[in-house]
């Protein structure tokens, strides 16, 4: 009897069912929405690396190169200001600079690039020398690079001449001569070497030696470019007149700069001022020579002297700037010591 009650109770409970309409409606709803319902994506999904890595392995292909790029980028950035005694220096001279060179497509751009690199080598040497770190090993390293930059510059200038892309090559060449001569003098002053500029053999086949002083090598490089310029034929009078005016203007500006320059306080500063004056006088002398030769009708030689004058005045300007830099540096060091 009691069992029957239980069975009845269960039967009654089992009578709780959906109506046919409800059943049909629910079934239709499921089929209708079943395919379109997707789990709601978290708004933070895009920010979750772990989740993204779980979802797709594509992230690995993006993440790993990204890490390499960022790490490599950091090294590249850090190596930009490195000096020859730094472990990052090989990256700078063997990777970054060649890549920059490879991106210079025209011979003229390549010549500019090599000229800039040569100047950079000399500035590096100056920095090392001012800290007393320019030993034979570093000197050899810089010399080797300087030689290769000078050779590359020559080659690029030749290519520019061949391709008739030689509009500004003279300026690149005179700038290079000025940079090399100016920095060579600064380097000599810093290293307290012989201040007397050495006479460089004017022979065309001059060889640049890796084992000689950097300053001498720089001058040899500058001379090599000068010889190259002298060999070129010139017979354009208008161009000569225009350039002459430019050189005169440069001489005036450099003279004014020298007048307003601060008073020299150290031996090095005084040596730099003397050097500037000396070079500026040399520029004026070359200009006079150019005038004289031009009046004699020797336009080729006149133009060559004009380029010498331009190179000298630029050299004087670089020299003066270096002096100001040295002064600022010495003031900064003084402040730090106090």
């Amino acid at each position: 009897m009691e069992n029957k009650k239980l069975q009845n109770g269960i039967k009654e409970i089992n009578k709780i069912v959906m109506t046919p309409d409800e059943k049909k409606r629910v079934f239709e709803n499921i089929l209708k929405t079943g395919t379109s319902v997707k789990p709601i994506q978290s708004p933070w999904f895009g920010y979750s690396f772990v989740l993204m890595m779980k979802q797709t392995k594509l992230v690995y292909f993006i993440l790993v190169p990204l890490i390499f790029i960022l790490t490599g980028g950091g090294v590249v950035f850090a190596s930009q200001d490195s000096l020859p005694d730094s472990i990052l220096y090989p990256i700078k001279v063997s990777v970054i600079e060649p890549i920059e060179g490879a991106l210079s497509f025209s011979p003229k751009a390549k010549a500019k690039h090599e000229s800039k690199l040569a100047s950079t080598r000399l500035i590096e040497a100056e920095t090392l020398a001012s800290h007393g770190k320019l030993d034979i090993k570093q000197e050899k390293k810089i010399n080797k690079l300087l030689v290769s930059h000078t050779i590359a510059l020559n080659k690029a200038l030749d290519n520019a001449d061949k391709s008739n892309d030689n509009k500004d090559t003279e300026e690149i060449a005179t700038n290079f001569r000025a940079e090399m001569n100016a920095h060579a003098r600064v380097l000599d002053i810093i290293t307290e070497g012989d201040k007397q500029t050495e006479n460089v053999d004017n022979n065309v086949n001059v060889n640049i030696d890796e084992n000689i002083k950097i300053s001498k090598n720089a001058r040899v490089g500058a001379e090599k470019i000068k010889i190259r310029q002298d060999k070129k034929n010139f017979n354009n009078v208008d161009k000569y007149i225009k350039r002459k005016e430019e050189v005169k203007s440069l001489i005036n500006i450099a003279g004014q700069g020298l007048e307003v320059a601060p008073i020299s306080q150290t031996k090095i500063e005084q040596a730099t001022v003397d050097g500037t004056n000396e070079t500026l006088d040399q520029a004026k002398k070359y200009l006079e020579e150019a005038d004289k030769k031009e009046k004699e009708g020797n336009s080729g030689e006149a133009y060559s002297s004009l380029l010498d004058s331009e190179s000298s005045v630029k050299e004087a300007d670089i020299f003066l700037k270096t002096r100001l830099n040295l002064k600022e540096k010495s003031n900064y060091e003084k402040d730090n010591n106090n």
């Binding site: 009691e2 069992n3 009650k5 239980l6 009845n8 109770g9 269960i10 039967k11 009654e12 409970i13 089992n14 009578k15 709780i16 069912v17 959906m18 409800e22 059943k23 629910v26 079934f27 709803n29 499921i30 089929l31 929405t33 079943g34 395919t35 319902v37």
Partner: protein, 177 residues
Amino acid sequence: MNTDLINEFEKIYSANSDAIFRFCLIRVSDREQALDITQETFLRLWQNIQEGKEILNYRAFIFTIARRLIIDWYRKKKSLSLDSMTTDDGDNVYDVPDSSTTGEKLILGTEGRYLLDKINELEPSYREPLYLRFAEDLSPPEIGKILGISTNAASVRINRGIAELRKKTGYKDEMNK
């Protein structure tokens, strides 16, 4: 849409929809809510079937989903504390739907109502196993899966529940089916 899948799903739906609806209605005491939970339960089953996931026991699977959805519903409703729903002893409430509050006419006789009342008076851990065993005719392994306990534990709870129900109802013969 794959007709074979629909047929397979329809078969499962026809066989189990009433049981799930009943299970839900007794727990939530709201017909529309019970229908919603039933629909959601079968929707998830349908999605799993579409995705080609292997389901070994459909009955256990849908009862498990329905049970979790009911717990979620209670959490949202906050009429019960979270602890009372999720503790091991399973403090699950069985409500007999009240037509006066739900506004519906429930076909439930006195014996059915009495049985549900008595089940509701049992210790919380015995209520669900006993209901699933007697009302839905589920096996102890299936009940174990639904409740997340071992088959042995499910059997023990059923037997102890029967013993308690006997005392409360006076039903003595042949309760151990």
